[in-house]
């Protein structure tokens, strides 16, 4: 695409990014007036834009995983969002008026009778205290701020996040554009957006009403409720258990930590929640002759780049000697010693290790057919890859593979075949004593070849998946009311 300033593509890009200048706006309007196809194309792009905004709502990730996001993922301060926030207040106040229509406490559906402190409150009794808010929040008919108290009502958050505590002790966190109706300290209805609830044992029975007459009833836990793009509710349980009530089912289902309840085909489905993928972006360690500094990101982001630690990474002369990777670029680690004899590698700093988290590193490993494989026959070279802690000066393995130990016989054999194997390495931080230490993905030469011969191992499809560890087995504060599905 070779855009000049007035091409429709350039103008549409500016329109979608929210930074169309006045002159360009006039030019775009003129072209739209004259061109029905362009109008149709514009609408299609707007549809995609709107759908993407729904698929990827501006929301915080699951709390315990947030520290693992790449460092560039800082809170939104983009032009478009600043403008939206600025005008959102008036719009939200208008929205509050709609509360009269939908704000009516439902009859209690809790499996536990409310305690005296959790009973129905007079309409003006404060039951909500705002702890923090990074976006504009309106509760009932008042603008909320940290420390302010509010009675039951419709909570509207335009963007950003907000956290508040109910008098029942329930901790409520809103992520992105969200509307939550607080009926009383023990009942709420989510109509839009994403909310994470942390319920103390005293709030067992806390109930969140969802669309379609569905309900989530807390059994002492932390869970998140959101709506998918098609309006289907989705409940993710981080700790403890919840009950899911569905009018189409004759009894409640229990969902436990590490599971998601959703209705992808209209029927309740409970399954483990997916791994959160972190894409690495490698840095170069010492002892390397080629620079990765112009390719700082994820390997396959620059499929035509010559990504390597030493020697060739992608070369027509040796293409046939390499297996087919996930993309067309392999990270090549060569056991041939550098001129100064120093060993090296590449690494990615992920962030501090957090409690009760499982890290799974997936790597596709390949060999070059025309030279000895590190760790295999005919070479002294050996390499390692995996999850490490420590620092670039002194790495310590947490879950690491070593070529001489962990490669398959086919990979080690000097058989002129470009073999591959998948390597999966898992580290569970639970009771590891490593909390707060830095986590790294690393690929490194640990023993050089005895001569100047090429001895390469190839890496591709590098992916780190992160998820909460299964909760420890402990006595529950209430027996489940139904069998596990």
């Amino acid at each position: 695409m070779t855009n000049t300033p007035d091409t429709p593509d350039t103008l549409l890009t500016a329109l979608l990014e929210g930074d169309l200048k006045a002159d360009d706006h006039a030019a775009l309007c003129e072209q739209l007036h004259d061109d029905a196809d362009l109008r149709r194309r514009t609408v299609r792009l707007m549809i995609v834009d709107a759908m993407l905004a729904d698929v990827y709502p501006a929301a915080e990730p699951a709390p315990s995983l947030s520290t693992h996001l790449p460092k560039a993922q800082t809170p939104a301060t983009g032009f478009r969002f600043q403008l939206r926030t600025a005008v959102a207040l008036a719009a939200m106040i208008a929205l509050v008026v709609t509360a009269w229509f939908i704000l009516r406490p439902e009859p209690s559906t809790s499996t536990q009778p409310p305690t005296a402190s959790q009973g129905v409150q007079p309409a003006d009794t404060p039951i909500t205290t705002v702890v923090s808010a990074s976006g504009t929040v309106v509760i009932g008919d008042a603008l909320a701020h940290a420390g302010s108290d509010h009675p039951a009502g419709l909570i509207t958050l335009g963007s950003g996040s907000a956290r508040f505590i109910l008098t029942s002790g329930v901790d409520v966190q809103l992520h992105g554009a969200t509307q939550l109706i607080i009926h009383d300290p023990m009942h709420a209805t989510l109509t839009q957006g994403t909310v994470t609830f942390t319920c103390p044992p005293s709030a067992v029975g806390y109930t969140v009403n969802l669309s379609g007459g569905r309900k989530v009833v807390d059994l002492g836990t932390r869970f998140q409720v959101t709506y998918d793009i098609d309006g289907t509710p989705r409940t993710t349980v981080f700790e403890g258990r919840v009950e899911i009530h569905d009018p189409s089912l004759d009894h409640a289902r229990v969902v436990t930590a590490g599971q998601i309840a959703t209705w992808p085909t209209g029927r309740l489905t409970i399954e483990p929640y997916p791994w959160q993928v972190v894409n690495p972006g490698f840095e170069v360690g010492s002892g390397l002759t080629a620079s990765l500094t112009t390719h700082p990101s994820w390997l396959e982001e620059h499929p035509s780049a010559d990504v390597r630690t030493r020697s060739v990474g992608r070369n027509a002369e040796t293409t046939g000697l390499r297996p087919i990777g996930e993309g067309d670029t392999w990270l090549t680690l060569d056991g041939r010693p550098a001129d100064d004899g120093e060993l090296g590698g590449v690494y990615q700093k992920i962030g501090p290790i957090i409690d009760r988290t499982v890290y799974r590193l997936h790597v596709l490993v390949g060999e070059r057919a025309d030279n000895p494989t590190p760790g295999g026959q005919g070479t002294a070279a050996d390499v390692t890859w995996g999850l490490f802690t420590g620092s670039p000066d002194h790495f310590e393995p947490l879950a690491a593979a070593v070529a001489s130990r962990d490669l398959s016989d086919a990979m080690k054999a000097d058989n002129n075949k470009p073999d591959t194997q998948t390597s999966e390495l898992t580290f569970d931080s639970t009771d590891s004593g490593r909390l707060g230490e830095e986590l790294y993905i690393r690929f490194a030469v640990i023993r050089p070849a005895g001569d100047k011969r090429t001895a390469q191992l190839l890496f591709d499809d590098v992916r780190l998946d992160v998820r909460n560890a299964p909760p420890p087995t402990q006595p529950s504060n209430k027996p489940p009311t139904s069998d596990h599905p």
């Binding site: 609408v43 709107a50 839009q192």
Partner: protein
Amino acid sequence: MDQRQEQFTQHLLAVQPRLKVYIRAMVGDQTAADDILQQTNLVLCRKSDQYEFGTDFGAWALKIAHFEVLKQRQKFVRSRLIFDEALADSMASAAAEELVDLDDQQAALADCLGELSEPHREMIRRRYSLAEGVEQLAAALDRPAGSIRQTLYRIRQRLADCIRSRTAEGRA
């Protein structure tokens, strides 16, 4: 909530994606569209007793939205760059046609996102979920801002083409 109110709320939630696009197509500017959408929701609630259950809620809501855009657009003429009335009408017609199969398009989007390369999916995720602007993405990925703009546009265009292709297959 009684049953009628609950049904109305469900309809209102379900129609939001269509309203969003329809209104934006008529005004162009996202900020003005967001504001008009909220006003439209308010009007829909006020007029809830005029809606006949069993009839096409989406058509009813779009009609009210259309009227609201024409009514509200004067408010933004000086402060925002919005489409003139004639263009708004033309865009509304195009939007009404393109939104007919929005449910199918939403279903196709998941597959089409799966066809993107991982870096492109990640860029889209950062652009929307983390609201990183072009400049932020450019700095984070060490690429020129112009290149990021082009890439984002191409990704959206590719998704639009993919969605069209898949929904057409579904009709065939």
